[in-house]
């Protein structure tokens, strides 16, 4: 298997955005977690490229190499999701991609499925549910002087919900993947995570949806994922709890995740 990942830029909402691309085929847009960036998908992308996808992973606005829209991080999940929609329109014009995301990226995936039900062919939301919220104490810590040890918080919060024992190099790589984003954006990501609630819009969904979470991820209760699957109408949703995985599902077990995703997409006749 040899699928090179290449970097590109586009302009979305009048702002420069960076994204990685890997492979050729059906567009698969991968949305990273809060505080992270496109690097998070680097082990997963070649696997999905091998399965026949053109895998596209942007840095969300204000993360890593993408500038924030109007120089202000998003704090509302729907604003983020609409940005992803505009990104899709720009990078995959006229196409109907599969969208996957994890954490806040999973929230955006569900938001897109609810608000652009004809725009995507399938959604795969990891570590996400119809309503999310966990780290709620951060809103006052936007300015660096308020939290001098913030980088340590990011290191630990990003990796503490992995499934252990875990390969130490994966833990270290995961920490580095979360070291490219400014503190104010990290805080805003958590505001958006706490803001997300599409419970009343799940009935809009028209495409297959795969919800999947690692058993060790304490940021989201198992029951919330199970309840979301049950609440999506017409049997469109499936998924559950991934054994032996945690919060960083695409880093910890990329092969198992890719296998689960392709199986789902084949069952649902997306590929």
């Amino acid at each position: 298997m040899s699928h090179e990942i290449t970097g590109r830029y586009a302009t979305v909402q009048n702002t420069r955005v960076y994204y990685d691309v890997c492979g050729e085929g059906i567009p698969l847009v991968c949305i990273h977690m809060g505080w992270a960036c496109s690097l998070q998908w680097h082990h997963f992308m070649p696997l999905m490229a091998e399965a026949g996808f053109k895998v596209i992973a942007p840095d969300l606005p204000g993360h890593a190499k993408s500038l924030p829209v109007n120089w202000t991080p998003f704090k509302k999940m729907h604003d983020y999701a609409e940005w992803v929609w505009n990104f899709i329109e720009t990078v995959c014009p006229g196409e109907k991609p599969v969208v996957c995301g994890s954490g806040i990226g999973g929230d955006m995936t569900l938001d897109l499925a609810c608000n652009h039900p004809k725009g995507i062919s399938a959604g795969m939301a990891f570590e996400s549910a119809a309503k999310t919220g966990s780290i709620s104490f951060l809103s006052n810590y936007t300015e660096p002087h308020t939290f001098p040890g913030f980088s340590s918080l990011v290191d630990n919060a990003s990796t503490s919900a992995m499934y252990y024992p875990c390969d130490e190099t994966k833990v270290l790589e995961s920490k580095w993947q979360h070291r490219c984003t400014y503190q104010a954006t990290c805080v805003a990501d958590m505001d958006a995570w706490n803001d997300h609630d599409v419970t009343d819009k799940l009935s809009n969904i028209e495409c297959p949806v795969f919800l999947y979470k690692g058993e060790a991820d304490y940021h989201i209760p198992d029951q919330d994922v199970i309840d979301t699957i049950a609440a999506i109408p017409n049997g469109l949703a499936e998924g559950g709890i991934a054994q032996g995985m945690g919060h960083l599902i695409m880093m910890e077990q990329p092969e198992k995740l890719a296998e689960a995703c392709t199986s789902f997409l084949k069952r649902r006749k997306v590929i």
């Binding site: 006052n140 300015e143 660096p144 002087h145 308020t146 001098p148």
Partner: protein
């Protein structure tokens, strides 16, 4: 207005409290800062984005003490206030020294830059026949 003087320090206090940037950079401050202009020193209490108290400071006479000092020689202050040298360069080289509780001072790093920028914008410095 003369530099250094209590009038200068009070004028600085007013301008800091009118600054949105200062309010943001010190939003969660609770520190006592000593401004040391050569032999003359002024004590400021920063709390929640504002200067809430200011007075002349005389060593051993202020029971509240201070957390960190921003200080230098009059010549160096004049260089800063006249805009002759970049503020960052003066801080990095110790021409204007920040000392004391550096955990607090470094936490308030941006606030110190705002204070020095506003001081410079006041265009007041010691007149020495120049």
């Amino acid at each position: 207005m003369k530099f250094p003087s209590l009038d200068f320090a009070r004028s600085l206090e007013i301008q800091l409290n009118e600054s949105k940037h200062f309010a943001e950079a010190s939003a969660w401050s609770d520190v006592k800062v000593l401004l040391s202009f050569g032999e003359q020193q002024y004590w400021m209490k920063l709390y929640r984005g504002k200067v809430i108290d200011l007075m002349e400071y005389h060593p051993m006479s202020n029971p509240l003490g201070w957390d960190y000092v921003i200080g230098g020689s009059i010549d160096n202050w004049n260089d800063l206030l006249k805009g002759l040298r970049p503020i960052g360069h003066m801080l990095d080289t110790g021409s204007i020294k920040v000392d004391g509780n550096l955990l607090q001072a470094n936490r308030m790093y941006e606030s110190t830059h705002v204070i020095l920028n506003i001081m410079r914008s006041m265009k007041v410095y010691e007149k020495r026949g120049d």
